[in-house]
Symmetry: C2
Subunit: 252 residues, 2 copies
């Protein structure tokens, strides 16, 4: 087996990493994955990712950071099948949904739920901010879901019959919310619930979410083996020290 | 005089607004500007900009938010002269510099200096966070400038002889820092200082910075007239209520 020419550094527990890996799967791009430990990373990692974000894309000696920029780079260099609609205004709308997912949706589902409930007490050994969790559940999540419901299609994906950037940006964080007890109320947000089920069932996100779930109950040392068991190609591990990272799952 | 087909909502005090207006100037795109009051905005504004960000781009009844998405939309629809380099890896690097400017650089020069020193006490009538200001000056700004110095060209602009997205994204926030007393130490960061002077002297940023400076010493009611005096076309004002905005100058 030859090593793929692209390495992706990033743990699939991160929605941003799953976004990029779903795009790769859709475009048939083989990558080697280094599932770096979330919230840790040494100075070598800082050098290649100045804002300590994942995923990182390495190809031909060039290192790219930020999942939005990586997604656009993939689209620029491997345009078929496209992850963006053809009309420029629709392309802008798709990129806006990506931006909303990366900042607002991940802020409430990621930082205020998953990070507070699952990461702070268990990984970082710090208390969770219960007020932030309750405020997210009572106010911010309903506001966010109300807005997303207005964007949802009645069939297919956000921009037609095939999934694309907007779908793969928006869907992953819902898994992180679900594992800490927050699901979409399908009676209140029916189109959102149906769309999410479609992305999680009928696209490459299905296998990626399965890996992410498995990672959450697997010791760090065993995570690479889990990745391999799910059929992914492992890269050499090289940027995985013991120092807490400032923001590897921050908006990217 | 006919009204231009594009309206930009946004106050030029915002670096994100100046980024977009500089791109318009470079490409020869006429726009009508609604210089919305910073940090205020009514519910009608929330409806068109869900994250209450400026600038907002309105064209043919379509509303686009987020300066990065607007910039890419402008490039998609008016490709000449291009604001992005031709090579896909260089394009990704230019977009990375934009992302770094919009998040990290504006976090330290905008939120931790300009917002704390100039906006909180004077506009919002709240005390500044002196610790945040001191930490930014002692630690974060030097770190940020050290990184930017490594990106700087020895001549011309970041990606060649013409300014582009990366230059127009990175340059504006330095004005906001300067008006609250922080300048680039040219002995320590010589390439950064020379590059900034070039963007501020030889590109459309010169006129935009002049407007921004004038705005900072002009009463809100008189700001539109200042815009017109500098040769910009005013749009109808329509989204300017009295409620404090949550984040109109947040990364966009």
């Amino acid at each position: 087996m030859t090593t793929p020419p692209v390495t992706v550094i990033g743990n699939p527990v991160s929605p941003y990493v799953r976004k990029i890996l779903a795009i790769c799967a859709m475009k048939g791009i083989e990558v080697a994955i280094d599932p770096i430990t979330p919230f840790r990373g040494d100075d070598a990692f800082s050098a290649i990712s100045p804002l300590r974000r994942i995923p990182v894309w390495i190809e031909d000696g060039v290192t790219l950071c930020d999942s939005s920029i990586i997604a656009q780079y993939i689209e620029d260099t491997r345009p078929q099948p496209s992850i963006l609609p053809a009309d420029p205004k629709d392309r802008a709308r798709a990129r806006w949904i990506e931006e909303y997912a990366d900042t607002r949706l991940f802020d409430v589902l990621g930082w205020k739920l998953f990070f507070q409930i699952a990461i702070k007490p268990r990984i970082l050994k710090e208390p969770m901010d219960r007020d932030a969790v309750e405020h997210a559940k009572a106010v911010e999540i309903p506001e966010t879901f109300d807005y997303l419901e207005t964007l949802m299609p009645t069939e297919g994906y956000l921009f037609g019959a095939s999934p694309g950037l907007a779908d793969f940006s928006l869907a992953p964080a819902f898994l992180n919310a679900r594992v800490v007890g927050t699901e979409i109320d399908a009676a209140r947000w029916p189109k959102l619930a149906v769309w999410l089920n479609r992305v999680e069932t009928d696209t490459p996100m299905k296998r990626l979410n399965a890996v992410a779930l498995a990672f959450m109950t697997t010791r760090l040392a065993d995570q690479p083996a889990v990745m391999a068991e799910h059929g992914y190609i492992l890269a050499e591990r090289s940027h995985d020290g013991g120092r807490a990272m400032r923001g590897p799952m921050s908006p990217v």
